[in-house]
Symmetry: C2
Subunit: 191 residues, 2 copies
DNA sequence: AAACATACGGAACACGGTTCCGTTTTCCAA
DNA sequence: TTGGAAAACGGAACCGTGTTCCGTATGTTT
């Protein structure tokens, strides 16, 4: 049954659009100040709206996080192929790209933690990040392994998971996520 | 028979000791069933005590976790020197020991996550695990680097942090903590 | 301007950790 | 054996967060 509802019954209300952008800005600010787990009420207060409005626009926290960081993720994804053409070797491109990803993660307090929460609400976050970045990573891995620089058959999804995990707690003074990621990259090398 | 004791103010009450062991058993069971973040009320109910009793015996969740897993951590710590004498090379000993640690972590749902929480309540957990295991790891690292098998100056604390992080979410079907840890171990190798 | 869909606000609820205090149990000493 | 102080207990009450719900307000269309 094709219930062809009338094409575009009505456009989105102006206040709704205003609130959405206000929320995005408020959330970005709150994330910087308190990490991606900033209390819902705080974000609402910053945006000058009620909590209900948040849930109406972004049903889960993951939706909000995705919306806030979407363009940065896009930039990271697009950097992959670019690096492949500008780098000396595929392995160098892979290394640079991973460092780019790490830089992104470690500057978002709590993002790495959230990324790997098995809470159902974070499915969206998981899905978006992985859908967007895993193929890029896979392409880089493939190029490097074709060039014989790294071990074959490394799974991009597992690698991304692992890199993400290594970035957890990156702001702790006695931890060094980049060093650990460097070990992983070295470990990928064919010996 | 009167028990042999010097003039202590008073010995611990019998019900108190009973409750403590009951609590330990209940917590162990709850941890297996629901992970180390099992609700306090659940643990209390399993042990047949009130929630206040938990807090009296184990002021923070970390205290409870430490108490439950203490002997396993001890075993892991003691395995370090042993492996060093029985293994072919220091690097092999290091690898075996790390895998031992990983096995311990991945079978305790949520432990790895808890390990790296920056919540103040988990200071105890952090402190105990690291105080006990980092020196062992350092000894193994030192032996391997003295033998020229791995890169020098690797910090044991950072390595333990990283390994712990890699174990987060180890029960997810599309992740492989052991594989990632293997990459790190390979990355340690001098090339 | 009236009518109606859309969106809003925030009170109310759910849930888990933590505290507090009146009551109960244990132990010691007389 | 027993009186009573100290130790320990239980769980109600409290707090902070996420989430839902519905009466009200706002924007849009005719």
């Amino acid at each position: 049954m094709t219930d062809t509802q009338s094409g575009a019954p009505r456009k989105q209300r102006a206040d709704s659009r205003r609130n959405e952008t206000a929320l995005l800005e408020a959330a970005a600010a709150a994330f910087v100040a308190s990490g991606v787990n900033a209390p819902v009420r705080d974000i609402a207060a910053r945006a000058g709206v009620g909590v209900g409005t948040i849930y109406r626009h972004f049903p889960t926290r993951a939706d909000l996080i995705v919306a806030v960081y979407r363009h940065q993720v896009e930039a990271c994804a697009e950097a992959g192929p670019a690096l492949l053409t500008t780098s000396a070797t595929p392995h160098a491109a892979l290394a640079s790209w991973i460092h780019l990803f790490v830089d992104f993660l470690v500057t978002k307090h709590g993002l790495a933690e959230a990324m790997r929460s098995d809470d159902a609400a974070f499915q969206t976050l998981h899905a978006y990040f992985l859908d967007r970045l895993v193929p890029v990573c896979a392409e880089l891995l493939d190029a490097a392994s074709t060039a014989g620089e790294i071990i074959p058959d490394m799974d991009a999804l597992v690698l991304m998971h692992g890199i993400g995990n290594l970035c957890i707690g990156a702001d702790s003074p006695d931890y060094d996520a980049r060093l650990m990621v460097g070990l992983v990259i070295a470990g990928l090398r064919r010996r």
